[in-house]
Each structure stands twice: as structure tokens, then as C-alpha cells.
Symmetry: C2
Subunit: 209 residues, 2 copies
């Protein structure tokens, strides 16, 4: 039941890998360069070199699920948003399908539902996330789509909410996202579901069902 | 049987509108500004002001089909590729579905099938087109997706091909694309089909069936 972590070197990716290692959840960290790989090797974590814009197929060997948390992020150029956040996610969905993976866990974004309601500078990014989510939902691969609000570096509280109304705000810490992802990975019965994710008052188990 | 022409002010859009007028095919040209609208008014063509990033719904009133030939084009910034070529196309697909349109005719691109095989600078654009095509195909709206090769300003020959192998080259004139679109609009029996389009030796009727 090894999960391939696409985007392992990102801020959420690294925190997820640390939690997974602590919980003895088998995973493989997919990274782009040997430089990025060092962080994982130092911690005795399994890792693989692969490229969302190039050779990718081999990264899936022996993996049963995939977690997509790669992101050029809203602050990189939109050419990379198209090639990584959108097309990279689509390539991973195609491979998840052809290799018969049991689940694709996608880190999306709260405003991906309706990009024109996002702040103007984030709209292109949200359009890419919306299209990537839709592509995944139509592949026939069991999925869970997690849609965090605005990410912060606040420490983990282990308490989340699944709507802005419930949360009273639109923020969520990366640490809480990583913890929620670990819960999702360990809960294979959750399939074909979407959840918004914000800082809140419930445990992942209480909130994500 | 009026067709809404989204992106009417583009190079293919204008040529299509001229052909449609000559053939007495009812259409409405959707444009972004009164400045753009002048060209259509001067020719006695029906037109409507609407915005792929804003108010759009009203443009569909009285229309039965939609032709999407809007494109920020590969030479604009990729933020506009995300907002127009991708998200604009998705919004039109959602409206085509909710309004029960009989067909969505999409102008896509030859290399949208496999963006990483396109020249590097075109890859983000092709990723957007691939995602837009996939979104359309999963909406449940009858569609035709036309995938022209590299566009030229050569004069119309009225002769096309539907593969690079058949054509012997990867180019197609905008004039031939416009003529093929007119043929598609007038052939409502063609649904849920995709065609590559290159300059060639067959009439649209011989090639697109």
C-alpha cells in the first residue's frame, strides 16, 4: 500500500512525508533533482527522481496510491501553472488509470470551484486547479480531492473544518493539511469525495467522512 | 438554428462570420467591446457584447449551437491562456449544458492531444487546449472538436486533410479552417467527433464525416 507523493519537496509534501514516516505509512517521495533528494535520503525516506514534464512512468513502480501535492504555486509564472499544476496532474491521472491505482488523492484549492470569485491575481491558478480536478474526476480512478483555503505556516492544531461558514475564516495551516492528508491516506474507504479544508475545531476523523 | 460565435473578432472568427453571412447561416458574433462590434455592425451582422471573464449568460439567448474560436493565442501571456482558452471554454461548456444547446463546436489544436510533443514554447498552450477539450467531452453536450495544425494566412483552397500523414505537412490556412467550420455548422448530424485539420486535397464534405 505504498503511496507515491508527487511534489514531495513542497512545503506540504515534506510535512506529509515526515508524518507518514512517523506513522510507518509506506510512501515514496517523488522529486525532480538529486539536490531535492538529499533531504529525503538524510531521513531514510524512499524517494524517486522523476519529472512531471518528462520521464514519469517509472516513479509508479510498486505504488498503489498517489498523492498529488505538486504545485508551481500561485506565485510562479502561469506557464508553469499550465505545465505542472494542470498538465502534470493530468499526466499523473492518466498513469494512475493505466496502472490501475486504487486512489488518487489531490491537493486542490478552495476557490477552484469558481475561479472568477477568487482574487484577480489568483484566477488563472484556480482555473488550472478546476480543470485538473475535473480531469481527474472523469478518469475513472477512485479519488479524493482536498481543497484547502489560504495556506499559512501556523503550527498544527490537528483541528479542521470543511466549510468557510463552519471555520469562520478561509485559512488553514500547511501542518493541518499534511495531517488531514495522512488521515485520508490511511482511510481507503473514502473514495470519490471532495472536501474543503480550513482550520477548525474537529479532528480529521470527525470532519472528513 | 442560430450559432453563437465566441471569439468572433479573431482571425478565424471573422472569416467564419463572413462565410456564414454569404451562406445565409444564422449566427451571432460575440465580441468584447463596442470597438470590436463595429466591424460586424458595418456588415449588418448580428452581434452581442459579452465577456468570457465576466457577464456571459445573456449572449446565448436565442442560440441553439455555439462555436468556440476564442483564443488568446499562443503569443499572449499564459495567464490569459488560462482565463480565456481554458476557463472561458469551460464556462461556455457549462452554459451550453445548462441551456440545452444542441452542439458545441470547438476550435482546438492539433498538438492538444499530446502537449509534450509540441515545441517547448507552445506546450503550456497545448495543455490548456487539451484540458478544455476534455472538459467539454465530459459535459454531456454534443460536440465536434476541430484540431487545426499550424495556422497560415494562405488563401482558401477548399481542400483539407485530417491527418499529418495524409497532408504531408502540418499546416492549414485560417481560410480553410473557417470553411470547414461552416461545413460543420451546417451538418448537425456530426456529433461527438474529433477531427485534425490540415491543408489537403479533399473537400470538407469528403474529409469530415
Amino acid at each position: 500500500m505504498t503511496i507515491l507523493v508527487v511534489g514531495a519537496n513542497g512545503q506540504i509534501g515534506r510535512q506529509f512525508c515526515q508524518l507518514a514516516q512517523d506513522a510507518a505509512v509506506p510512501f515514496r517521495a517523488m522529486v525532480r533533482s538529486t539536490e531535492q533528494q538529499a533531504w529525503f535520503r538524510e531521513r531514510g525516506m524512499d524517494s524517486v527522481l522523476a519529472d512531471l514534464e518528462g520521464d514519469l512512468d517509472h516513479a509508479f513502480d510498486g505504488c498503489d496510491q498517489v498523492l498529488f501535492t505538486a504545485g508551481s504555486g500561485p506565485r510562479t509564472g502561469p506557464d508553469k501553472t499550465l505545465l505542472i499544476d494542470l498538465h502534470g496532474a493530468m499526466r499523473v491521472a492518466d498513469l494512475a488509470k493505466s496502472k490501475g491505482l486504487s486512489r488518487y488523492i489531490m491537493v486542490s484549492a478552495l476557490r477552484a470551484d469558481d475561479p472568477l470569485r477568487a482574487p484577480e491575481k489568483l484566477r488563472p491558478y484556480m482555473a488550472a486547479k478546476k480543470a485538473a480536478d475535473d480531469y481527474l474526476k472523469n478518469r475513472g480512478v477512485p479519488y479524493v480531492i482536498l481543497k484547502p483555503g489560504r495556506l499559512t505556516d501556523d503550527p498544527a492544531t490537528g483541528r479542521v473544518a470543511t466549510s468557510v461558514k463552519e471555520a469562520g475564516d478561509n485559512v488553514v495551516s500547511r501542518a493541518n493539511v499534511a495531517a488531514a492528508l495522512l488521515y485520508l491516506v490511511r482511510t481507503p474507504s473514502l473514495v470519490n469525495r471532495e472536501f474543503a479544508l480550513l482550520d477548525g475545531t474537529r479532528t480529521p476523523e470527525e470532519a472528513l467522512f
